[in-house]
């Protein structure tokens, strides 16, 4: 790590050295309101473009601790994982001495930590995370009922009634700790802990509110980043699946177009070798040699085709509880359906139906079909729109049916709805259904379209039962 990076690791700006340094006049004061607003704006702006959760966490904590920011001596972020609050990131010195030395370096070299958040350095961020790893591990604790109810930031002191707060105070050796709960969708998402353990400066309510604003901007940024990551991963899987399906088709075509003529030529050579009369040994030998050479070519081709097909099916099928998988996707669409005034109904199977499938492929297919149904109902301005999703047994198969009471597909699509290139949407490329078919084929199933029931359009995904 370079000398400058070492300075940048410490983002805090303690106002009093641990070795008896004089109290600095500016440092002892809380930041001016204009500086607080500027810091909040700067952090929010930086969070808008961040593409990595750790960078987002680091930028927020730098905003909380920098001299040009909210001037906390140190800050930590804990994130909820299951039933535990896990220490995730920390910024600031670990001791008074470390703070004094680093603050001295920052001053001497005129470094403004807050300026660095627009140009994050991955090595600095990683070093900061590692530097605080033991403390972050020590801060982790089980979630308590009391902490679930936190809505507003608060200042806590020794003797606090909540056990996890007492734990944090003890671990940090803090006597005045800002606890900033981060709440999303009515649930605790994480907690920011910050204090002034070196200069013991009081924490005014305005700073607490500004810190809460930064913390909530962080949550929004991390959720956006995680959504984008998930979508990118889904897209990558879809492309892989489509590539696999294309390779399988290439293997099929290769096998058909080359093996048939080879089988014919070799077979005829063998037949002729058996049919030639006595005294034609040379001819018979030649025909057998031709037959052997062709059989050799056939086995080489067989190996090539098998290798292509193996590459095409890199993802193996697993046992998937289809009712459970479909219920999850339908639940994810419920808010969107409600917003569009569409009734979304799900009819699960009476007993679990297990099919051979790839969970992410099945999710993607359902997302496409349910999403298409909602789009079609909205585009046609159907009042009383309804999408029905059902999972049912169909002999040796498990059927997932997605039906809607929107208009049927355009005539151009009805002959082959899965060919791609034609869409019911003005902006659509019509590749959604083609994608569904490829993914279903990759799961060795099939997909069908049916508009024979007046007023209803149905798509059925048929998957093989898991044996």
């Amino acid at each position: 790590m370079t000398r400058e990076q070492r300075w940048r690791v410490c983002r805090t700006q303690p106002r009093r050295g641990g070795n008896g340094g004089r109290r600095r006049r500016n440092g002892a004061q809380a930041p001016a309101p204009a500086q607080v607003v500027a810091a909040v704006r700067r952090v929010s702006h930086a969070l808008e473009t961040v593409l990595n959760p750790e960078t987002a966490a680091w930028a927020t904590l730098v905003g909380l601790t920098a001299g040009e920011g909210l001037r906390f001596n140190r800050a930590f972020l804990l994130r909820l994982h299951g039933e535990r609050l896990e220490g995730w990131f920390g910024v600031g010195p670990r001791t008074r001495e470390e703070g004094a030395a680093l603050w001295h370096d920052l001053r001497q070299n005129g470094i403004d930590p807050l300026a660095g958040i627009d140009h994050p350095d991955a090595a600095v961020i990683q070093a900061e995370q590692q530097r605080h790893a033991p403390l972050l591990a020590a801060l982790s604790c089980p979630l308590e009922d009391a902490s679930c109810k936190w809505q507003r930031p608060l200042i806590v002191r020794r003797g606090h009634p909540v056990a996890c707060v007492r734990h944090w105070l003890a671990v940090l050796g803090s006597d005045n700790l800002a606890v900033i709960p981060i709440v999303g969708a009515g649930q605790l998402w994480g907690v920011v802990l910050a204090d002034n353990f070196i200069n013991h400066r009081p924490i005014p309510p305005t700073i607490l509110e500004a810190a809460a604003t930064m913390a909530h901007a962080l949550r929004a940024a991390v959720e956006r980043i995680e959504l984008l990551t998930r979508l990118s991963e889904e897209e990558r899987r879809r492309i892989t699946a489509e590539h696999a399906a294309a390779m399988l088709e290439a293997a099929r075509t290769l096998a058909h177009d080359l093996k048939n003529p080879l089988a014919l030529a070799g077979g005829l050579a063998s037949e002729l070798a058996q049919a030639v009369g006595e005294g034609q040994d040379d001819l018979a030998r030649t025909l057998r040699a031709i037959g052997a050479a062709i059989r050799n070519a056939e086995s080489r081709l067989e190996e090539l085709v098998a290798s292509l097909a193996r590459g095409a099916t890199g993802t193996s099928l697993t046992a998937v509880d289809v009712g459970e998988a479909v219920a999850r996707v339908v639940a994810a669409f419920e808010p969107l359906a409600a917003r569009r005034g569409v009734r979304l109904e799900f009819q699960g199977p009476e007993a679990p139906l297990i099919a051979a499938a790839v969970p992410s492929y099945l999710d993607r297919c359902l997302e496409n079909l349910v999403g298409n149904a909602l789009e079609a109902l909205e585009a046609a301005h159907v009042s009383g729109g309804c999408v029905q999703v059902a999972v049912e047994s169909s002999g040796d198969l498990v059927a997932v049916v997605v039906a809607d009471n929107g208009p049927p597909l355009p005539m151009t699509m009805r002959m082959d709805p899965f060919s791609g290139g034609v869409s019911t949407r003005e902006s659509g490329a019509g590749l959604g259904l083609a994608s569904v078919q490829r993914l279903v084929h990759a799961m060795q199933g099939r997909v069908e379209y049916d508009d024979s029931l007046p007023g209803w359009v149905r798509f059925s995904i048929l998957l093989r039962r898991w044996v």
Partner: protein, 120 residues
Amino acid sequence: MSARLLFIDDEEGLLDLYERAFAREGFRVCRATTLDGGRALLEEGDIDLVVLDIRLAEGSGLTLLHEIKSRWPRLPVVLSTAFARYQDDFSSWLADAYVVKSSDLGELKQTVRACLERAR
């Protein structure tokens, strides 16, 4: 009387080969290059076993396999195809046997005999 085999394949040359090879083994052979042609011969009756290609120019042989098994469940069907991975396709599991096309007709002959034996 010898068994009557129906070969359905869109490759005329292969049908010639099958006819020559199986006739010499003592079978009666009839042939069709299309699914409809195969259906017509099946309707006439007197077929003891069908050798069916999967990938035909006009469509999938698996469609006809399902029709045959619905109407004549006891009639043996041997799928013969260039692509071994069709065995993984559950639609092909209805067939009595599955043979990958080869210039060596030994496996096909053996399979046909075994299926006829089982059907008796």
